[in-house]
Symmetry: C2
Subunit: 373 residues, 2 copies
């Protein structure tokens, strides 16, 4: 039987071991949290030191600097091991929602950014209403609209939902996409009422120049190349920076054909006979604004008219005529080399100018039509 | 004074607490190691399930699949917080060598890749010798040369070292770069003896079209935009895939002007009066190989001669004449729109064809000359 002295000794031993164990646990927790975070920064500094996370961006101060960053993320999907070949997710994040995993990684890299994440499918009625509300009221200054909407989705329904929301709200957005064969992609700037929306004409894609049959098969999941996605993501966010910071020429449409390293560009006006009622309304408002704008005197005959309120210095070069666009349901518009339409809409189902259905219905119909194709 | 019973109770309590603490510690350790690794995969599977890390790449099987991946990384630098705006490093890696941090992240994403890292400056004599040895003997099959060398550096000395090594070894490589103003970049394929090497002519860069003075100042560190770097990295690795997997058209030179979204391309033959002795030797060997090649009968008059051993299907379209290239020291060659030379070499210091110095010396001289500029 243990004596009191022996027991006291044992208690001291155990207490010491427990303290050590708890210390180690704390150290592990500290290490984890230290490793994973840098503190927030009160004010961006331009100081030229390697420990300044903003030094490389502030060197571009004269080109303009984004004052504050806020990111609203919408995605219904979960991280899978199959995403590792191209996305910035890591294996230990498999199973998390993509928005949650993205927020975690991005907040870790830059704790100065504000995040708002929504793990839902924007195409269902209830979520769509909420999605639209966040575009309208979720800007940096809460209650104001966001600056820009980026579409980085892989299906027609989601694009049409974004298009519908942005047309109704008059929200400028940029669309992006990569072809199913993974070797081409595009970005597109859509200004409701001014440039062609996603419903104005069949979506434009980069001509493939390869035999699709050798690449696509039933039951095979979509291919993806990190390189093509990286280039398309790069030109998309470059276009965003040029638009928000007002430098360079913002592209209306920029395609990428990876097989030939060919990058076609173009611009397309909105279609007066667009199926989306809100697009047509935006076109009317755009026309009114244009008519009310003070006329700019042309000093040199050769000089082009510069739009005074065109504050980000882009130029609308419509290479596709209204007539071509009006004929886009059924026929292919005359597009620049390297660009083609994703599909043509059968002529018999194109609505006449006078009896256009309610937008909601058109969207449903288009979706149904797409599924049949 | 505590009784034996009280002490026994205390011992049991402490034992239980200690067990819990150790269990928690183990769980934390397990979580860490589980989180950070997926097991190696014996054989790449094309199975269409989201848990298969290769499913999205294997969907492109008909375009070719890299059988095995090996990465040799050379870099002397350390991870800094200032890198976070554009590289895939994370804040907790600040202070690690870049090669170590890169290997850790990449191995974590894909444990099936082999890595060999060298944390040194390739331009010092001793390291250069080791660097050359690893190019010559560090291929997938140990002892054989590597398939391709990629240059992703930010200075002239490092590029000249890679150029010198690849000329001596007849090693095909790809060069890449981003301008100091961060809004343009390029990639270039160099086949020793066949296409212009880095010493054949002043390096080609994309014309800036912006006032450099508004962007560059003394004492300001180089700007960097993640977007420009992302696009250049994307087109570089896309070119690598096209070259290694033999699909599409491999680009000899592809520029990127982010301000105008302009992507000029070109090709340039090797310069018979190149300063690098090994480049001139490679040109002689290339000529011999071309002369010894069995002649291909031209069936149709209009058809171009196809090089039989041109196994990756690229076509050498030299848009710059030999005369222009020979005149490149001093004068600017007649380059396609959007491409310009980084500098011109003063005519008085260009060596005559007969008395070219030893390559080693030329490199030193060029470096000295560059520093004076």
């Amino acid at each position: 039987m243990a004596t009191v002295e022996e027991l006291k000794l044992r208690v001291r031993e155990l207490e010491n071991e427990l303290i050590k164990c708890k210390q180690k646990q704390c150290a592990m927790e500290d290490a984890q949290s230290l490793e994973l975070h840098r503190p927030k920064i009160e004010k961006m500094s331009a100081e030229v030191v390697d420990s300044n996370p903003y030094s490389r961006l502030m060197a571009l101060k004269r080109m303009g600097i984004v004052d504050d960053y806020e990111l609203l993320l919408f995605d219904y999907d979960k991280v899978e091991l199959a995403n590792m070949n191209r996305l910035f997710f890591q294996p230990h994040q498999a199973g998390l929602s993509k928005v949650e995993a993205a927020e975690h990684t991005l907040r870790n890299i830059n704790p100065d950014v504000s995040f708002e994440t929504h793990n839902y499918n924007i195409t269902t009625m209830e979520n769509f209403t909420h999605f639209m509300d966040r575009i309208r009221h979720g800007g940096m200054e809460e209650g104001k609209p966001v600056d820009l909407v980026l579409s980085c989705v892989d299906n027609f329904e989601a694009r049409m939902a974004i298009n519908k929301a942005c047309n109704e709200l008059g929200q400028i957005w940029m669309e992006s996409g990569v072809s199913e064969n993974a070797v081409s992609g595009h970005i597109q700037l859509i200004i409701p009422g001014e440039t062609a929306c996603f419903a104005c004409a069949p979506p434009l894609v980069v001509a493939a120049n390869i035999d699709e049959k050798t690449l696509k098969r039933e039951g095979v999941c979509a291919a993806s190349l990190p390189t093509t996605m990286g280039v398309v993501a790069g030109i998309l966010v470059q276009n965003v920076l040029k638009y928000l910071l007002k430098f360079g020429t913002v592209s209306y449409y920029l395609g990428y054909n990876a097989m030939q390293d060919f990058f076609p560009t173009m611009a397309m006006k909105a279609n007066p006979q667009c199926n989306d009622r809100h697009c047509r309304e935006q076109q009317e408002e755009y026309k009114k604004r244009e008519a009310e704008r003070p006329k700019v005197e042309v000093v040199q005959e050769e000089e082009e008219v510069v739009h005074e309120d065109n504050e980000w210095g882009i130029e609308l070069v419509s290479e596709v005529t209204d007539a071509e666009l009006q004929a886009a349901t059924g026929d292919r518009p005359d597009l620049p080399e390297g660009i083609t339409v994703a599909y043509t809409i059968p002529a018999e189902s194109s609505p006449s100018g006078d009896t256009v259905e309610d937008t909601e219905q058109s969207l449903e119909e288009l979706m149904a039509r797409m599924k049949k194709l």
